[in-house]
């Protein structure tokens, strides 16, 4: 459904607002989805969107994992019963509900730079008090994982086991060794970020300007209309 002219271009830049609209649309599609096969179409759409954003490896892995889950559901769960069946159905149905949005959110977050996001939000007239924490939060979540690996290494170096066994043996020590560096790093990062942001004039009361011009283009409208069609088709199916 996506026009072939878009595929030939190597790198296509989408408006951050488009990505947000797509996220909302795919959320609605995922909640109103009539069948699993239909969700495959949604995943295909998201994968094409990811390819357009030059996230080739991510889209391929995402699609493969989804297809594996889908095939597992179709071939295994249809003719099994019992407790395991219930457990798997419960788990899989939650996964199928969250997966498309998660995949699209991954693409959107990794392709949007913070300055674009901020100027798109200020164009959409969303107050700064919501936008700034949100932007910082989106950027900080991957950093937590990185920090955690460093903390684990440091703990091993000082003979504190970062596993469950170590926690049971020596709870106070383990709690301190996890939380103190994590929170210290977080507050240091917050301080540095705020200094950097203030020197770049984030407190300026005049309307924000941005070197990267953000506006809806024909491709944004095309992508949004593709997802919108999908939503309408899904509602009437």
């Amino acid at each position: 459904m996506t026009p072939p002219t878009q595929k030939t271009k190597q790198f296509i830049h989408f408006d951050p607002r488009t990505k947000i609209i797509l996220l909302i649309l795919s959320m609605i599609i995922a909640t109103t989805v009539p069948s699993l096969l239909f969700e495959c179409v949604l995943i295909m759409f998201i994968a094409i969107f990811g390819l357009l954003c030059k996230k080739i490896r991510y889209s391929l892995i995402g699609t493969t994992v989804f297809m594996a889950l889908y095939l597992f559901t179709v071939f295994y769960l249809q003719n099994s019963t019992g407790t395991m069946h219930t457990m798997f159905t419960a788990w899989l149905s939650l996964v199928f509900k969250v997966y498309p949005c998660g995949m699209l959110a991954g693409i959107a977050v990794s392709t949007t730079r913070v300055n674009e996001f901020l100027s798109a939000m200020s164009k959409a007239h969303i107050p700064k008090k919501i936008v700034i924490p949100f932007a910082v939060m989106m950027r900080y979540i991957p950093t937590i994982r990185e920090d955690w690996h460093y903390i684990k290494d440091a703990m091993r170096l000082r003979d504190v086991s970062p596993s469950l066994k170590g926690f049971i043996k020596n709870p106070g020590m383990t709690i301190e060794c996890v939380y103190v560096p994590l929170l210290m790093a977080a507050s240091k990062a917050a301080d540095e970020l705020s200094i950097a942001a203030v020197t770049r004039g984030i407190e300026n009361i005049r309307p924000r300007t941005c070197l990267v011009q953000i506006h809806f283009r024909i491709r944004d409208i095309l992508v949004i209309s593709c997802f919108l069609t999908l939503l309408i088709v899904g509602l009437f199916l």
């Binding site: 909640t31 219930t86 008090k129 924490p133 949100f134 900080y140 301190e176 210290m184 507050s187």
Partner: protein, 202 residues
């Protein structure tokens, strides 16, 4: 340093950035604690207990760093929007928002300075994710229908039905209070022992 920050009214940019970083930490902590509970049908009612286990110290340090009105409410709103986008049940998002706003009010009665009030605020905040289950206990039929529309299968609902009764509700409430209190208590100890000495509380 502390006087300087206190004199400024309202939320500064620094506060907003701190809130962003700590909101990320709060979300990740409650996800790690709660994910095993959330995906198992018989344990799904105890999600809030698991989610309350880890974020206590983070929450208290946040209150110590940003002792201002609206900080918690804004964080609640952000987390609610994020989880709504990721496909959670609406009652959980609404519950999170209400819990955060109430916690804001409770901690605000003592100007965010009283340890006891902050721990109480954390306990209230931990009840946010139980919104889904309160929605269930108020009206089981309507709840099942929204969940079924969302793609949860009938089997899951049946398994939940057999697991859900008033005893479960009691365990859920008492367990959440207890776990949140322990987490908050550990947090306040850590705060006193480490962070106040290091001078990173505002």
């Amino acid at each position: 340093m502390s006087n300087q920050v206190q004199n400024k009214k309202g939320l500064t940019v620094k506060d907003l950035i701190i809130m962003g970083v700590f909101a990320a930490l709060l979300t990740v902590c409650s996800m790690i604690g709660g994910v095993f509970f959330a995906i198992t049908p018989t344990l799904t009612f105890y999600f809030s207990i698991g989610a309350a286990l880890l974020p206590g110290p983070v929450f208290l340090l946040l209150l110590a760093k940003v002792p201002k009105r609206w900080a918690l409410t804004i964080i609640g709103a952000i987390v609610a929007v994020l989880s709504l986008v990721l496909g959670m049940h609406w009652a959980m998002c609404l519950g999170g928002l209400i819990g955060a706003a109430l916690a804001d009010v409770i901690a605000g009665t003592k100007k965010y300075r009283s340890k006891k009030m902050n721990i109480l605020a954390y306990i209230v905040y931990s009840f946010g994710p139980t919104g889904t289950y309160f929605a269930y206990f108020i009206n089981p039929q309507a709840w099942a229908s929204t969940m079924l529309e969302n793609g949860t299968t009938q089997d899951y609902i049946t398994a939940m039905d057999s697991a859900a009764n008033w005893r479960v509700l009691a365990v859920m409430i008492v367990g959440t209070i207890l776990v949140a209190w322990i987490s908050g208590f550990v947090g306040s100890k850590l705060l006193k022992k480490q962070f106040e000495k290091a001078g990173i509380t505002a």
